[in-house]
Symmetry: C2
């Protein structure tokens, strides 16, 4: 059942059918109605490929993220997908893993699909100064199609980023720990992404403000699963630590488990703050004080930028939001 069949059945030309499909004002309401009826009766659906060939676009948006099974990314993907569809776009998804080459391949592959826009999720696509190899292929991609980065920052033409001001947000959170009287605050991180570095920078700034000297022993690198974090801390956590700022909730939960095992009371002797406000935070005991990193807000910003762009208007290349500190049981404030 193709456009010719419909044209024949409706007694019009294929051009008219095509116009009806696209709801062109060039067709009279009368013929529109007639053609539509024939289409419904034969449940005709235009062939996407032919359509794409003619139009050069298929109304799809590509999403690339390192790993959808990560809660933050899953939330973002879910939100984006839902909203895209409301505007008539479908999404094609590609999980790239975290290796440079795989990410590059993922982006290259998804570009071949003639997408109308590319969304990247996660700070692993970020670039500090703006000139690491990882950013190159994104800039390359941006030559073909607008690129939107959620929770990451890449400078360049046709690249639009929305991110949480992790530095400032972290700084404020650490300030609160200091106000509680904590002096030996551990910075617990896993990877060395842009986002992690921003957080570290905010952490150091808060210490500096309070006149607390830096201490390299307090920059603690751990593996990224709950059990390993616990083990790593049990093995080498400096004894004087009275506060832990973790770059994500999983690490924070690991820290909490470490405290329990080490017999350290939380929050009496040790305060813990997580990041991302995932479901893990309200799952543990005491519930974890965490930072809402505004996943959906960032998605919304990128989405709005995209719509603006598609309507021929200007979009904002870089937007910051601030995270919100959610006070719960692992801190005293």
């Amino acid at each position: 059942m193709n456009i010719y069949d419909i044209a024949e059945l409706a007694g019009v030309s294929i051009a008219t059918v095509s116009r009806v499909v696209n709801d062109s004002p060039l067709v009279s309401e009368k013929t529109k109605a007639r053609v539509r009826k024939v289409m419904e009766e034969n449940n005709y659906v235009p062939n996407v490929f032919a359509r794409g060939l003619g139009l050069g676009t298929m109304k799809t948006i590509g999403i690339v993220c390192p790993d959808v099974s990560d809660a933050y990314m899953a939330k973002a993907v879910a939100y984006l997908e839902k909203n895209f569809r409301e505007y008539g776009y479908d999404s094609i998804l590609q999980c790239s893993g975290r290796e440079y080459e795989d990410m590059r391949a993922a982006v290259a592959n998804i570009l071949n699909k003639k997408i109308d826009a590319l969304f990247l999720i996660g700070s692993c696509y970020s670039v500090e100064g703006g000139d690491t190899p990882a950013a190159d292929y994104v800039r390359e991609a941006a030559k073909q199609v607008p690129v939107f980065v959620i929770n990451g920052s890449i400078s360049g033409d046709n690249i639009y980023c929305a991110l949480c001001d992790d530095r400032e947000t972290t700084c404020q959170a650490v300030r609160e720990l200091i106000r509680e009287g904590r002096r030996n605050i551990l910075f617990l991180h896993h990877s060395d992404t842009y986002s992690a570095r921003q957080k570290r920078s905010g952490y150091l700034a808060a210490l500096a403000e309070a006149g607390i000297p830096e201490n390299d022993n307090l920059l603690f690198h751990a593996r990224d699963d709950i059990e390993s974090v616990k083990q790593d801390l049990l093995a080498q956590c400096p004894t004087e630590v009275d506060g832990i700022f973790a770059t994500n909730d999983r690490l924070a939960v690991g820290a909490l488990k470490f405290a329990r095992e080490a017999g350290i009371r939380v929050p009496e002797e040790l305060s813990i703050i997580g990041y991302d406000n995932s479901e893990l935070a309200i799952c543990c005991q005491p519930e974890l004080t965490s930072i809402d990193s505004m996943c959906e807000t960032l998605c919304r910003i990128c989405l709005d930028n995209m719509l603006r762009l598609l309507r021929g208007r200007k979009a904002e290349p870089l937007t910051y939001t601030k995270g919100a500190l959610l006070r719960r049981g692992t801190t005293r404030f």
Copy 2:
């Protein structure tokens, strides 16, 4: 840069270029090499739409799930997407929500994309006897393209399901609770999906085996977020309860929080078992005994079935796995 340009530059016809792209044995190695070189130099990529038009397929697989931000589904999507790509397929994703009409629309929409196979994730697509309205459109879809259902069961031609034998798995778990000496075991559930009914059936079977009479007060319906579950249980949990079987980990964690708030010791006075073995399970204290519902195993089965089918061989319409009980701190066994 299209096939004509490459043909001209390489001094061959477009047919030859096309054959090189498709690695046809009809082209001599010599010309293949020459054409490939030209393609690389100009980084030529065949147009997907034209390709799709000619071939009638674009090597993409559709995935429909109610909600990717659910941990189980996210895990499945991640696994599938990764594996599809290994076999040269891309994935297009659609989150359907849990409403019947939305699910129907999602499936209809994704079918228009000329996908090569359709994957459905989640038991909300399931059908007990095989004849609820929800199954109709899936059967309709199966006329166009093979359908694979992960953790759900729909009978029909060209539909291939893989699911965890929730009934038997639940039955075994409840048996263990009984062996522990529990007599008043609460069945804590949220929705009324096929999967939930299977679990209930297993629960009842275990009770029957042990000669424990059914008690409707012990079939407890709660809302599906941690805080609400806790509230619901605080409000109306029968006092004699000494065991809780929850249909997912979130509910189980809610139950754990309830116990803590009600001053009931776990596992001394109350045992709790969850389902899905999500990260939540190892996050709480004591860690949650849970059932691994074999997400990736089920995905693997469907994937294998698909590959078999694409190679023209027969696939298994219905495969069961058994879940694995992971004993942790919320039970005494």
